[in-house]
Symmetry: C2
């Protein structure tokens, strides 16, 4: 493999000139630049990453901490990862995976070995063991998800509170007076209760209070019979035409099925609005009014945040919480337009 020394010799310049042509860190005359670039092309030169990292103390690699148990959200996760990797490349960074089964120690390892210049942490929970660790790491990191204690950290997440609010407003607008919020399934609640689940609920409750709506809370059943019971109970306690908000993807199909089984016609006898917490694109097929997020946007923004930290030497450890706006997809046919008063 050719080295920059070979390039320098062929171009008749010094090795440092070759280096400066690559980095652009000092002015080079058009003439020598051309000679160097020709030589590089002729030799098919590629700079050695290890040597570069050693000399410059920057690896041009970002560590991406991926969740170990991808049974929930597994589909959307993939979208995040590939967009993150693609976006990182645009700024000349590569992505190295850090799996969760190494635990927080994995983060210390890749940083300690100076394999990575920074970290992106996916699926951050309210009380996440990785958070105290990254606080003490000498590299910048950006979190996807908002931990309870996030002073001094940079986080980005979907705005679940706003999503909850929009769901309610949508239903209030067509005249509903009572809405039933179907919770996430238990596994999710257990894991993320203190995080986005809470934020979504808060958005729902506040908007309902503001609009004078009553909110019924149904548990997030994962069986059809459980769901039917929950729906029946909600119906009893609802006056006027019932309305449902179902944020958990696993429950959305069940809810529709349960309503069907009970002989309720969507958009006529009942309204349903769902929140797609993960990927909007993925659940396009659901014929419901949905509020979801563009996963690509989160990915792009998270990369931009860390790249800025990595390239801009000023403005260091500043706290920032970015919330990504949900996108509403309205399907009129699933909203009952004439609720009884």
């Amino acid at each position: 493999m050719p080295t920059s020394k070979d390039v320098a010799r062929l171009a008749g310049v010094s090795q440092s000139t070759v280096s400066y042509v690559m980095s652009g860190r000092r002015p080079i005359s058009e003439k020598t630049r051309k000679r160097v670039e020709d030589a590089m092309a002729q030799l098919a030169f590629q700079p050695n990453a290890g040597a570069r990292a050693l000399a410059s103390r920057r690896s041009q690699v970002i560590g991406l901490a991926i969740p170990f148990v991808p049974d929930l959200h597994r589909g959307s996760m993939m979208g995040f990862i590939s967009v993150i990797a693609t976006t990182a490349r645009q700024s000349d960074y590569d992505i190295l995976l850090v799996t969760d089964d190494e635990g927080p120690a994995g983060l210390e390892r890749v940083v300690g070995q100076q394999l990575v210049d920074g970290l992106i942490i996916m699926q951050v929970e309210g009380d996440d063991a990785r958070v105290p660790v990254i606080r003490n790491l000498p590299v910048p990191s950006v979190l996807i998800g908002i931990p309870d204690r996030h002073e001094g950290l940079q986080c980005i997440d979907a705005d679940f509170e706003l999503a909850g609010q929009l769901c309610v407003e949508e239903l209030a607008q067509v005249g509903h007076e009572t809405v039933t919020l179907v919770n996430w399934q238990d596994a999710v609640v257990r894991r993320h209760a203190m995080n986005y689940v809470k934020r979504f609920h808060r958005g729902v409750d506040r908007a309902a209070a503001a609009a004078g709506l009553k909110v019924l809370h149904a548990p997030g059943r994962i069986t059809i019979s459980g769901m039917e019971k929950a729906v029946a109970k909600a119906l009893e306690q609802t006056k006027g035409i019932p309305a449902f908000i179902a944020p958990d993807a696993a429950n959305q199909d069940l809810l529709v099925e349960a309503l069907n089984n009970l002989g309720l016609v969507l958009g006529k006898d009942v309204s349903v609005v769902v929140n797609c917490s993960d990927s909007l694109a993925e659940r396009q097929h659901i014929p419901l009014t949905t509020i979801g997020f563009e996963p690509d946007e989160v990915s792009r923004r998270v990369v931009n945040m860390i790249v800025r930290d990595l390239t801009d030497p000023t403005s260091r450890p500043h706290e920032a919480v970015e919330l990504v706006r949900p996108v509403l997809k309205r399907r009129k046919s699933t909203l009952s337009q004439r609720p009884k008063r």
Copy 2:
């Protein structure tokens, strides 16, 4: 950050001794080893990856080429990635992502920069543009999927031919004389026609010939009405109780729905066997007899293949095609036990 020089000083040995303690490449007395290890622990020493890569000419990183368009199989993909990363760590390798949108050039880049010691290529198609490129790369690589021309390459894939065969045998065993094979959806066929689609069909056709069954081919519709037409047509041409094989996940739900709509009772009026090309685990909820693959096994084996290449200096570029056996999950209730003769 402490260096191996610092460790050496603290332990009162030379830097080379520290290096040999880490690599184990030469005998060290128990006494000095202890001193060095204590010093390392005391300083929380971590070797600098760049320096190590530069000096040893091995980065201990494996490049993982992930598909750009993960709309199909997106869920299972995630499982592959995390298991690959986890398994690689057991052999002290990290995983660097190479996105497909850099094209084959991305592979040349990471190898040329000596960022990676080897490559794992996911989702290889029959006629894959990356294949000619990796042939000329000076590092080992392992493919997931089998390209048409694979002389001298190391590939691993699910055994789709065997899967097709098992589907047919399962139906033959309960007495069916005609089976209808519902094709993959068009998008998949277009992309993978020459690869696993063909292999699955071959398995079906051969087993059918051997058992004296007739095979009807239905197109892989993606609308319910299209599916109903296809089913109706299949019924006309079937004598005895009809049986279906539906390998494409997207079609499986549709098929069941279409059968329902036509008033056919699964396991009584009709038998259905499906192949889950991607992840067995993911589609456990389907109440059908399925033939699928353990995605984790593919992932583990692919990593083991490349690690062996990377660590065992002998036995180089050898061709190998490993096929992973499908796993049958039988649900008696979905197989009609008394077909007419």
